[in-house]
């Protein structure tokens, strides 16, 4: 990778800048081969070479909005004052929670963990509402894994389960899993067999050699039947009635899985967020593990948000647990269902919330939103959202990957450096969080002095 530079050729048009090897953070693919053309006068990206449709939209539609940096109760205030207020709220809360983090760089995520450590709070990421079930399953079942690079170079059987990358991760197929030629896959797609398992025919289907349609909500049964068949056990003769997939198709798939050289199971939220949740991902991970008796097989979640994988990694290395972590007792405790945000808001547990780059007010269940309205909320986001509009303290922050640098993790846990395109008048997540953290440290020290 080369450094960000202003090429010689662009010198005669001084307001144009080319950023090579920039990184797109729009989805979990985190493509790091972007070539951005930036119009520095207009603070706009005019061209995003190599980006997919989603990535292009992400880059080209990005502008600098005219918006206050910080607001309290909808009123513009100086940044410092907002940070004071945010620190006060968190300091006084008995059950402060932090949520979001999946669209922030790791450096900011780290500060968020430190804040919770300090205020004895509760930190959770959007993982708890997308692949949290997988997180639970990793713990319960273990994970047989690899990087996307290995998939590209080795995988001759690629199975997608409950995902539609053509629309959600457009370059997944082309960069890693289907078309690229790899070291042991010299002919690219010709050397691979691609299976799509989903409840309906999606735009991803044309890429696949085979589409297996499972009855809605029957993924677990199908996975379980596959596990039994891989182990040489029999399954209910009514299997087609139960899952919508015939025994012949199952047998053929099992043979194919056992006899490939390197198989990979990618799974998406179609699997993790349907009835059964973490058991569905658990079943899939267990299937991959079972298959390792016969050949090399790995399972990988296809992650949505740009840096949700980073959130898992940062929260894990700082606390030992990936999400849903509570510090009330001064040490981290993990219990999804108890310390996961949706659940604890629905029960009315929290009394203050720090929402980082997330919009729960638009996508949480009603009970959770209702409680959120009753407590002071601090929001950090790069754009106005339902949550920021209702927040007691709202910070407008710079967009990561476009205006700020840092590190993000690709969905296969590979860290990637960001190369910002142009500056933003807004502070970064990290700056705001660090400001709050510094103030909290002072408040804590004063509190201790008073107590003494």
């Amino acid at each position: 990778m080369s450094e960000t530079k202003t090429p010689e050729a662009a010198k005669d048009e001084p307001n144009i800048r080319i950023v090579e090897d920039a990184t797109c953070t729009f989805c979990g693919c985190v493509c790091d081969d972007m070539e951005l053309t930036v119009d520095l006068d207009a603070n706009r990206i005019t061209k995003a070479k190599n980006a997919c449709v989603l990535g292009r939209a992400w880059f080209l539609q990005h502008g600098i909005e005219d918006h206050p940096q910080a607001m309290i109760d909808g009123r513009e205030v100086p940044l410092e004052e907002a940070m004071d207020e945010a620190a006060r709220i968190l300091h006084e809360a008995k059950f402060p929670i932090t949520y979001g983090l999946s669209d922030s760089p790791c450096e900011a995520q780290r500060v968020a963990v430190a804040i919770n450590d300090l205020v004895l709070g509760n930190i959770d990421t959007t993982t708890s509402v997308c692949h949290g079930p997988s997180g639970i399953a990793f713990q319960g079942v273990g994970e047989s894994t690899s990087t996307l690079g290995e998939v590209k170079n080795r995988a001759d059987l690629v199975i997608y389960w409950g995902g539609n990358p053509a629309e959600s991760h457009p370059r997944h197929f082309t960069r890693y899993t289907v078309t690229p030629k790899g070291r042991y896959i010299p002919n690219g797609k010709k050397d691979r067999y691609v299976v799509l398992i989903d409840v309906r025919k999606t735009p991803s289907a044309p890429v696949a050699d085979q589409l297996i349609r499972v009855k809605p909500g029957r993924d677990f049964e199908l996975l379980w039947a596959l596990r039994a068949l891989v182990r040489g056990r029999d399954v209910d003769p009514d299997i087609e009635k139960i899952t919508g997939v015939s025994r012949e198709v199952l047998d053929e798939l099992v043979e194919r899985m056992k006899n490939c050289n390197f198989g990979v199971l990618f799974f998406g939220m179609g699997l993790t967020m349907t009835r059964g949740r973490h058991f569905n991902s658990g079943a899939l991970l267990a299937l991959a593990t079972d298959l390792n008796k016969y050949t090399h097989f790995v399972a990988k979640p296809v992650r949505g948000h740009g840096n949700v994988t980073g959130a898992d990694n940062v929260v894990s290395w700082q606390t030992g647990y990936p999400f849903g972590v509570n510090f009330h007792r001064g040490y981290p405790r993990f219990n999804p269902g108890e310390y996961t945000t949706v659940d604890l808001l629905a029960r009315g547990d929290a009394d203050a919330a720090l929402m980082i780059a997330t919009d729960p007010a638009s996508n949480f269940p009603k009970r959770a939103i209702e409680h959120l309205k009753k407590i002071p909320v601090i929001s950090l986001d790069a754009k106005p959202t339902y949550t920021s509009r209702q927040a007691r303290v709202a910070f407008m922050v710079a967009t990561y990957g476009i205006n700020t640098g840092g590190t993000v993790y690709r969905m296969d846990d590979v860290p990637i450096t960001l190369r910002p395109a142009f500056d933003s008048p807004f502070p970064t997540d990290e700056e705001v969080l660090t400001g709050i953290h510094t103030r909290l440290k002072k408040l804590r020290a004063n509190g201790r002095k008073k107590a003494a």
Partner: protein, 270 residues
């Protein structure tokens, strides 16, 4: 004689009170009990800040009021009795190895996690993960009895290794998932995927159940051992009618993705 604690101040955020257990209270004076520490969210508080205490520390404890936000009641108890006149919060009886907990109202999620003995009775409903392993733990309860007269949610008795769990009402999905052994009786019907990944153990349902494709029908029978259990439950306040006591059950064995040594018995009304 018992010690009475009445919740007089409603907590703003959940309380964690492992101290509400005979093991911690027995032998203390009234003010000793009032000074026991609890967590109110992230703050340390005293029992006396929220409860009115009557009497000194006995091995029998009576808790009055809506304790649905009070977690860890009866945690780690080895003997004695805790009676909750009202509802109880999460982690009721966590890690208990003996004694009895009775709740007249509802209980929340994680009833009896890491339990190894004793008995928990809930007259109302309970939440998810009753008698289950904590996340990341391989084994659930190691013994004891959990008797819920109302309904429960998902993952009843997940990964349990020994003991008896009975539910008078309905249970959610994944009853007895990954169970190693032990017995689960559900009288009011259960959701899907019961016994997924079970190694050994028995799941008994009075109502028809949709089973996973990895369970195989073996036969119908009138299980003598079940009569034994149902007598026991009858003595514990469940209403067991003669049909269920002496009737026939369809036996399915599974889970074939595991050792296939478990069983699901489904009452067959014919």
């Amino acid at each position: 004689m018992h010690t009475e604690l009445e919740l007089t101040t409603a907590p703003e955020v959940p309380i964690e009170a492992e101290c509400l257990s005979p093991a911690k209270i027995k032998g203390l004076s009234q003010s000793g009990i009032e000074h026991l520490a609890m967590m109110h969210g992230n703050r340390k508080v005293r029992v006396g800040d929220f409860f009115r205490v009557t009497g000194n520390g006995q091995s029998s404890l009576r808790l009055e009021g809506d304790l649905s936000r009070v977690k860890y009641i009866g945690a780690g108890m080895k003997e004695g009795e805790v009676r909750v006149n009202g509802s109880a919060g999460m982690h009721l009886g966590a890690g208990m190895s003996g004694g009895v907990i009775r709740v007249s109202g509802d209980a929340s999620d994680w009833v009896g996690p890491e339990m190894s003995g004793g008995r928990i009775e809930v007259m109302g409903n309970a939440g998810h993960m009753v008698g289950s392993a904590y996340r990341g733990q391989r084994v659930g309860i190691m013994g004891g009895e959990i008797l819920i007269h109302g309904n429960v949610k998902n993952e009843l008795g997940s990964a349990m290794r020994r003991g008896l769990i009975a539910v008078g009402g309905q249970a959610g999905d994944f009853v007895g998932v990954n169970m190693r052994a032990g017995t689960i009786v559900v009288m009011g019907g259960m959701g899907i995927r019961a016994g997924a990944g079970m190694v050994r153990g028995s799941i008994i349902s009075f109502e028809p159940v949709e089973l996973l494709p990895t369970f195989t029908y073996s036969c119908w029978l009138r299980p003598t051992f079940l009569r034994f259990y149902l007598c026991h439950l009858g003595q514990s306040g469940f209403e067991i009618d003669d049909d269920h006591m002496g009737g026939r059950y369809r036996r399915y064995c599974g889970d074939s993705v595991e050792e296939n040594r478990g069983e699901i018995l489904v009452f067959d009304s014919r």
